[in-house]
């Protein structure tokens, strides 16, 4: 293996470890932290099934954001949708053609949507960036890292699309590298600048995920205003630490 391939292999295993362990730690931390009071933003569902539906509309359609501002909703939803499409398109690098999932991801629709979805991603990100610059309220609340995050993802999308539309890389070798990573059988990667940049940026994104606002992804599932059932009168809800206060009661 080339030195560069060894470096990227180590980089990806490190990034993946930080991503998985970091995220698992966050999720378990959120799950273990008690929510001592019932605080769903009402009107709220009165059943668990209703809560699942509410969360689905939030995660899939950005329901609340839609109520708030149509432009941010449009750009944000476009961006996240294209992220999902890109994810499915990239599965072909890590799945074996023998996999049962292969026909699902290796078809015209997924590959086309994944490829051209890239334009949606660039437009969405540019729109979000534009709002940060031109809307005085959003500019006021933006830290440098908020711009940097958008630039990072924009650069990932741009390098990916350049490879897809302009300057094709050695796709067979790339697949060998990616598949080698997930099967713990490291292989060389094609050493052209676009691939190297694209992969380095993706690894950075994985590393900063568990220590940044990207935590909104698991966060929304643990948001008590969205995930609680509205039934406080019917069912007593009490945290362990609050129960300890009741020692003074008969």
């Amino acid at each position: 293996m080339s030195a560069l391939s060894v470096f990227y292999t180590i980089l990806f295993y490190t990034a993946a470890t930080i991503f998985v362990v970091g995220l698992a730690y966050r999720i378990s931390d959120y799950a273990r932290t008690p929510a001592p009071l019932k605080i769903p933003t009402t009107p709220a569902p009165t059943t668990q099934a209703g809560v699942v539906f509410r969360l689905f509309t939030e995660v899939a359609l950005f329901n609340s954001l839609f109520k708030a501002t149509k432009w941010t909703w449009l750009f944000g939803w476009m961006f996240h949708l294209s992220l999902l499409l890109a994810f499915f398109r990239h599965l072909r690098y890590v799945l074996s053609p023998d996999s049962v999932f292969w026909p699902i991801i290796n078809n015209w629709l997924v590959l086309f949507a994944g490829q051209y979805g890239g334009f949606l991603m660039l437009i969405g990100l540019a729109g979000l960036f534009g709002r940060r610059i031109f809307v005085d309220r959003v500019r006021y609340i933006s830290a440098p890292s908020d711009y940097a995050m958008l630039i990072l993802i924009f650069a990932i999308a741009a390098t990916g699309m350049l490879m897809s539309f302009v300057n094709h890389t050695d796709i067979v070798q790339l697949k060998a590298f990616a598949f080698g990573l997930v099967t713990f059988n490291p292989q060389n990667l094609p050493e052209d600048i676009l691939v190297l940049t694209h992969l380095a940026l993706v690894a950075s994104l994985m590393i900063i995920f568990p220590i940044s606002k990207l935590l909104h992804a698991p966060g929304i599932f643990f948001s008590p205003t969205r995930n609680q059932v509205d039934n406080p009168r019917e069912q007593r809800h009490i945290a362990d630490w609050a129960k300890e206060l009741e020692a003074d009661r008969k």
Binding site: R26, D29, Y30, T33, P34, A35, P36, L37, K38, I39, T41, T42, P43, A44, P45, T46, E58, F62, S64, L65, K67, A68, T69, T72, G76, R131, V135, D136, R137, V138, Y140, I141, S142, A143, P144, S145, D146, I208, I211, S212, K213, L215, H216, G219, I220, F222, S223, P224, T225, D230, P232, R233, Q235, R236, H237, I238, A239, W241, A242, L245
Partner: protein, 514 residues
């Protein structure tokens, strides 16, 4: 009239104002002195090691409240909330944008309790990731701007992650109190409610006197001996109502309305002098312990009086604490009649009676008014009425419409779940915050002006003691009169036909079974 500039109402209430930095940096409520801090378990003045305590408290509280932890981590700074706060719309101060308000606390949390914050602090550029070192200036900003949030939750409706600034404000106020910087208005009231039984400090004899006076008033007006009982053991229903209902207009007219409804329903009921307060200011200062102590008074009163049901009067944040938290804080209420909601809202009670056809109204008694209804923020977004989501919007309106012929809603983006706070909620209903209260009422005043011009609305009904007090005080700044704010049960009181009333032959009543 005021020593500040009252905002001008424009007809277009959808315009989002430009930022004006620092317009409200001078606004802050009186700080609580020793005598109001100590009874609540807080130090009497700023402690020496405030910095360490704040940092530790932040950690401790984010471990006790999932809301705080998740909300501090998850904000993506998308800006969805930036134009949703009535205080921002009324003051243009950027620190009154919900996300900017949260960031006052989030920046400190990031600096001390997150990897990214600590790393970039070491690199000398904490601001890169929105982190900031804790200084006395930051604490001052907390005190100023976390007392410009009425915990109304409007921002949380629009946040894609569901972040509720109220949770952050409550945590910040609790931390401030812990280092000796509590708010006088709230703490004074909590102490009074915990010692005497209500926020006004009305002792039992005064309460008895007041209730007897109201009985006489009703008998004079309607010729019916409607009772307003106090501390009656064995009554079916314990009424817990905001103490404003005992003396101030238009609150007291609402209380007479509840009494008439109970009278017509033929139920026995009582007020408790021990728990003569529905409002629970423990929530405003973010103190679970203080909120719990006050809630336990309701439990004790219910046990001591041997009642079967608990009904709450018209009060917004009180209903949130009652509906959402009472079972948690002071439950289980297995000793009460399980066939009724515990607790029940007076509007639910009246609505049930109307549905059963047990109340009769002469709607023409309210024909001098064209009504609209102000959804109180904490009823709208922090509670429910009835058994279906949204009952908190439907039921009070149904009660109003049963008692009135003329009703019009304000624009849809200013009511229901999008309702604007009155501007005085969340522990801000104090004279030392008058400028904030007037400016915070701008969005509601604008919507009210709209329906006044378009549909000839003359009165606005509300179901919250704070809303009623706030509006009677601040709406005159916008050209309205004090008496344009009415209680929902005041309308009920005017129109209800008491079945044992002496027949009035001169008048042919238009009865309506509703």
């Amino acid at each position: 009239m005021a020593d500040f500039e009252v905002p001008v109402i424009t007809n277009d209430y959808t315009v989002v104002p430009k930022l004006k930095i620092g317009t409200m940096a001078h606004s802050q409520p009186f700080i609580a002195k020793l005598e109001f801090q100590e009874p609540l378990g807080y130090p009497g003045e700023l402690i020496d090691n405030w910095k360490e305590v704040v940092i530790d408290k932040l950690k401790e509280m984010s471990g006790k409240y999932r809301s705080l932890k998740v909300f501090l981590d998850s904000c993506i700074k998308c800006g969805a909330c930036t134009d949703k706060c009535h205080y921002f719309l009324g003051t243009q101060d950027p620190k009154n944008m919900p996300v900017a308000r949260q960031d006052l606390l989030r920046q400190v949390y990031r600096y001390y309790h997150t990897f990214a914050g600590r790393l970039f602090a070491k690199l000398g550029i904490p601001g890169f990731v929105g982190a900031k070192e804790l200084t006395k200036e930051v604490i001052d900003d907390w005190y100023i701007y976390f007392h410009q949030c009425s915990q109304c939750r409007r921002c949380s409706v629009f946040c894609p992650i569901g972040i509720d600034t109220a949770e952050i404000s409550m945590a910040a106020r609790e931390i401030l109190a812990q280092i000796g910087v509590g708010q006088k208005y709230c703490n004074q009231i909590i102490e009074k409610a915990g010692r005497i039984g209500n926020n006004l400090g009305l002792p039992e004899p005064a309460l008895r006197d007041t209730l007897e006076g109201l009985e006489e008033e009703i008998e004079e007006d309607d010729g019916v001996a409607v009772k307003l009982p106090l501390d009656v053991k064995g009554a079916d229903i314990l009424l817990v109502t905001p103490s404003a209902d005992f003396f101030a207009e238009p609150h007291v007219d609402g209380l007479m309305g509840y009494a008439k409804v109970f009278h017509e329903a033929g139920v026995s009921w009582t007020v408790s002098s021990y728990a003569s307060e529905a409002a629970n200011f423990g929530m405003f200062i973010g103190s679970y312990e203080n909120m719990r102590t006050l809630s336990l008074r309701v439990r004790k009163a219910a046990i001591d009086l041997g009642v079967k049901r608990i009904v709450f009067g018209e009060c917004g944040h009180a209903w949130r604490v009652a509906y959402s938290f009472l079972n948690t804080l002071a439950g289980p209420f297995d000793f009460l009649d399980q066939n009724y909601p515990i607790p029940q809202h007076i509007c639910e009670f009246t609505y049930d009676m109307i549905e059963k056809g047990e109340l009769k109204f002469d709607k023409s008694k309210n024909d001098d008014m064209t009504l609209t209804f102000h959804d109180s923020c904490n009823v709208a977004r922090g509670s429910r009425m009835g058994d279906k989501p949204g009952g908190q919007f439907k039921i009070p309106r149904a009660v109003i419409k049963a008692a009135c012929n003329n009703y019009v809603d304000m624009p849809s983006d200013t009511i229901g779940e999008s309702t604007f706070c009155c501007g005085g909620g969340g522990g801000l209903l104090t004279d030392d915050l008058m400028e904030l209260r007037v400016k915070g009422a701008l969005p509601r005043a604008t919507a009210l002006t709209h329906v006044t011009k378009e549909y000839g609305v003359t009165h606005m009904a509300a179901i919250c003691a704070i809303c009623k007090s706030q509006f009677t005080k601040v709406l005159p700044y916008y050209g309205f009169t004090m008496d344009q704010i009415v209680s929902v049960h005041q309308l009920v009181s005017s129109a209800i036909i008491l079945s044992d009333a002496p027949k009035d032959d001169d008048e042919t009543n238009e009865t309506d079974a509703a």
